[in-house]
Symmetry: C2
Subunit: 623 residues, 2 copies
């Protein structure tokens, strides 16, 4: 299939797709978030982007929805527009999420020299040996590398040395060295025949507790080729990190958990390779980021002290084995690099996030919040970094909520209440099946705003509302009546659900408050608040502030940054400088262990209100 490349501004990210794919498909492949309420049916008009260059198909539909004038200016609907050649589009601010911006590399940053990829290929044309110059083959390779890369340590692996004399002589002394930089030393992973520098693919993997996402990157052209995700099959051994740790340490051991996630990665590789007619052997490097437990399990490292007081991981930075040793089916010489972690509950995914958001280089203070079962929070600037982790519980992922579900097809993700009318929209525009975390936030905000619940999260029982019903005298609010739902059962929100969410948001907010207090600042000093994770993309910042999940700062400071674990892993894959930076971040970041940090409990209790007990912290929330 012929391919075309779509370049997204201001991110400066190029994504290659098969000809015939729409711009929104390219955006999804590259992890560029563009609003797409109607699910690509060309009806909502939300996915408007500015076509900067290149020929496209499907302008008629854009004209129909956007009007002639907009199309004259260059706007097109991403979901209806099919590039006929390489195109460049600009994603306008309003298309990147409601009022919040997607923060990706800017054009300028993308062009900034990242240095060489972590696994670098270098073409060598050697002089054949003569009687006067008959140094050993390995020395000849080192000598040439020293000329090109400087006087450093070069280490040739035995596997590579074994066939070296043959490869050099069979290929007229023209070969490609495959190098992994480890601090001041280069590990020569392989010497390949001829010039293969243009064939250097890498795999960035986000090993999440719930999902595993892999992105295939062409390190030569610096383009993302494709991305694919799936549920982490470790799920069958326990849904969250703690139950996996219990399984690993007291039941079946580490091996089944390790093989599950390795199998997942192999399946993703198979899909990515199949779809792009690539052989797994062409993948020369794998960089994985995950929380500390996921990182341990991926490498088969005993994780059991992680969950025992005082919460000690086996290591922060990990040895670099061959991916094949772990069972990952890529090139036999390809290393598996795991992004280093900071503490038992602040993992490589967060280090990757700091990397992706470039918190470590900013003058001003910024914060990164990654919300999931655990809320991990980082605060810092170019001079210091502090972090902590708070157990948020499963509510944000729909867990423990009466009609809760994950953010998949049919989940209510947006709620609007006016009087006793409720309008919901679901993922994929399907009949509603249940409610996911972002929907729950929306719903609670709307319930607050309409004074159906109070600051304590309790229903106003005096209210006369056909949706406010009681089961065994416990009040619940019907969002969707049985006849409208996909399951024919009503979708409700109970006081217990609200209570769960309040606890979750309270833990996250209290954690951030502790960090801010710890460094002696206040929220107004935060210049950028990065919200990471798939979850973040769907929540309305105004509502997140409204319920007291996020601090009450100007909305334009809140930036949804998507999967920064994957993005940080990709940065490491693309640049050994970024990987070295990740090691530095993991070493220099201060972790506050909240379980032994006395102020935390006070902050937590104070945050168990909507939005908070101290209303002066939320001046903009006024209902």
């Amino acid at each position: 299939m012929p391919k075309v490349s779509v370049r997204f501004l201001p991110m400066g990210l190029s994504v290659e797709v098969e000809k015939g794919a729409s711009i929104i498909e390219a955006a999804q492949k590259g992890g560029v978030y563009i609003n797409n309420l109607c699910g690509g049916q060309g009806v909502c008009g939300e996915c408007k982007v500015l076509l900067k260059s290149g020929k496209v198909e499907g302008l008629a539909r854009s004209r129909e929805l956007l009007g002639e004038e907009e199309v004259e200016k260059g706007y097109v609907l991403a979901c209806q527009t099919i590039p006929e050649e390489d195109v460049t589009v600009e994603v306008p601010l309003e298309a990147t999420g409601e009022g919040a911006q997607i923060m990706l590399e800017s054009e300028e940053e993308a062009q900034k020299d990242l240095g060489k990829p972590l696994v670098q290929k270098l073409f060598l044309e050697l002089f054949p040996p003569t009687a006067d110059d008959n140094i050993a083959d390995a020395e000849r390779v080192f000598r040439e590398l020293r000329k090109k890369l400087g006087w450093r340590g070069y280490k040739l692996e035995l596997d590579c040395l074994k066939g070296l004399p043959y490869i050099l002589r069979e290929n007229d002394w023209k070969v490609t060295s495959v190098l992994l930089k480890e601090f001041e030393e280069y590990r020569i992973l392989c010497i390949e025949p001829g010039n293969t520098t243009h064939k250097n693919l890498g795999l960035a993997v986000d090993v999440g507790t719930t999902t595993v996402v892999a992105q295939l990157v062409d390190l030569w052209s610096k383009k993302i080729i494709d991305v694919e995700g799936k549920l982490n099959s470790q799920g069958s051994y326990g849904e969250d990190v703690i139950s996996r740790l219990i399984y690993a340490c007291s039941k079946g051991g580490i091996e089944p958990l390790q093989s599950s996630v390795v199998k997942d990665i192999n399946e993703l590789i198979e899909t990515l390779c199949g779809r792009n007619t690539i052989k797994p052997e062409e993948i020369w490097s794998v960089v994985a980021a995950g929380n500390t437990t996921m990182s341990h399990l991926l490498l088969g490292i005993h994780p059991c002290a992680i969950r025992l007081d005082p919460y000690v991981p086996a290591a922060y930075s990990y040895p670099i084995p061959k991916a094949r040793e772990v069972g990952i089916r890529v090139n036999p010489h390809a290393p598996l690099v795991v992004v280093p972690s900071v503490a038992s509950y602040v993992g490589g995914d967060i280090v990757a996030g700091v990397l992706a958001c470039k918190i470590y280089e900013r003058e001003g203070v910024s914060a990164l919040i990654d919300i999931g079962t655990n809320g991990e929070i980082v605060l810092g600037n170019k001079d210091w970094l502090v972090c902590c982790s708070a157990s948020a519980g499963p509510a944000f992922e729909g867990g423990g909520i009466s009609c809760g579900m994950r953010a998949t097809q049919g989940a209510i993700e947006k709620v609007k209440i006016e009087g006793s009318d409720v309008v919901v929209s679901t993922i994929g525009n399907q009949r509603p099946k249940g409610i996911c975390g972002s929907g729950l936030i929306d719903a609670i905000y709307e319930l607050m705003k309409n004074r159906i619940i109070g600051k304590d999260g309790k229903f106003d029982r005096s209210r006369n509302d056909r949706r406010l019903t009681y089961e065994d005298d416990i009040p619940q609010y019907i969002l969707v009546f049985g006849e409208e739902s996909a399951t024919n059962r009503p979708i409700v929100i109970t006081e217990t659900d609200i209570d769960s969410l309040i606890k979750s948001k309270g833990a996250v907010f209290a954690a951030l408050k502790c960090l801010i207090d710890y460094v002696g600042l206040s929220f107004e000093f935060i210049e950028d608040l990065f919200v990471a994770g798939g979850f973040g993309n769907y929540i309305d910042p105004k509502k997140a502030i409204g319920i007291g999940l996020l601090p009450d700062i100007p909305i334009e400071k809140i930036k949804y940054v998507g999967n920064t674990s994957l993005k940080g892993a990709r940065l490491c894959l693309m640049s050994h400088l970024e990987f070295e930076r990740a090691l530095n971040i993991s070493r220099s970041m201060t972790n506050i262990e909240l379980s032994v940090y006395p102020p935390f409990m006070n902050e937590y209790v104070a945050a168990l209100f909507l939005p908070h007990t101290e209303m002066r912290l939320f001046p903009s929330v006024n209902f």
Copy 2:
């Protein structure tokens, strides 16, 4: 079995043997050369040693052969004396070879601190983690190592990290780290439960083209436990290096040659472990020394450019794999360290030899000659080292000689001619089967001395001697008549045999002469001439000078040093400083490639006489 220890002076070497073994058995086990012409039958009286301390059995036999007076002085026959407890004996000069000294570590040198073994064990008592000190387990280990070994790089291997949290907690934070020092960095090979520092065995291996010898060393007590040798089974693929290279590169590939030698090493390990009730898993390090081809084949490295002009090996210094990766059955974490080489025909065995003879630290100039199929020669002092290799042909090993054989049981090793009487002695005092290299040197010297042959190596056909016979008009000299030989066939020396040996000795001498000339010196500057290899032990230096194999220097300067390849390997095993020295030697030694060094051919032609065309080079040879 109870053990006793025999300490040999002046070498300062302790050898442990089972109670009941004789002193000569202990000497053989430890590689201490003591004259033993009768093969331990207590008849020749040559193995006289001075008993310095300890109770022994078997004094009666010593009295019988040495006389009461000698025994009063403390002399005993090594072959008849059985230590009843730990003993110390001094080996007198005259017992260490005719007129030449065995050079082994002196008492003083043995006590000199060699630094830590290459694979070092260090006991760590760690503080358990607390809420205030909850760094990762690996960091806790590094922190303690930094306290003990300084601020260096510490690298924990994945295999070791996997079970670390478990091992630390199950053993109350008291563990032993097993470390391999690689320059400024330590590789942590394993963390063992409890204190196992006293359990650190190592294996030194001399991988010779003909024989493989392995020595088991207790690196804790710094004692040699046992030694064992066997023929290199690669022999079935070709007797010499060149035929093995041809096999590896054009016939069956490298694999069968690698497995052969690995099988040999495993058999030696099995024997050594069985005999000393040791488990192979207790061996934590293996250091092997061999010529460049043997080193390549042991590691499975493509050796084919070694035999092609301009003679290029794949590498000088080798990667350090786990011994198990190569197939050697020792502890799964034990590294296989191969002593680095200098050039295609100056290998790790020679670097080990330079190490063992300490040429690199002497003020004065000394030379090392290792005589085999190839003669490798090193010349140097603490400031410089030059080396070369000359193809000597197989004559020194009994190859291509009409009645030639290896130096095994029944081989004539000494010859005395008086008139037409010939007295021969054989290895093991058996009926003669053939003649080995040292016997041939003796024979030719005696033929010269008795003027049966001339300076050109041709028989004096005018001589009337019942031993000088003709076959097809080609003269030959009968050393042993058919009725006296083990095979019932006469053992003879032909003109062709003499010619072969002249070529061999001519090549070795010419090579040494080239080195001496290259550095602008003359033979009188040589302070010590070390003769290495099993072969060396048997040759009479006066006769080696007489035929022009060795230069005409005072006999006391000639020192038989035995298997310096094994000894150098053992030094590396026992001390990372020695291994680093080996790396330095391999990098700094200048190799003269004689095949492209014009003066060599002239020197060679000039040396094709007995002893030489230039008689002024051999003033002491006057017959």
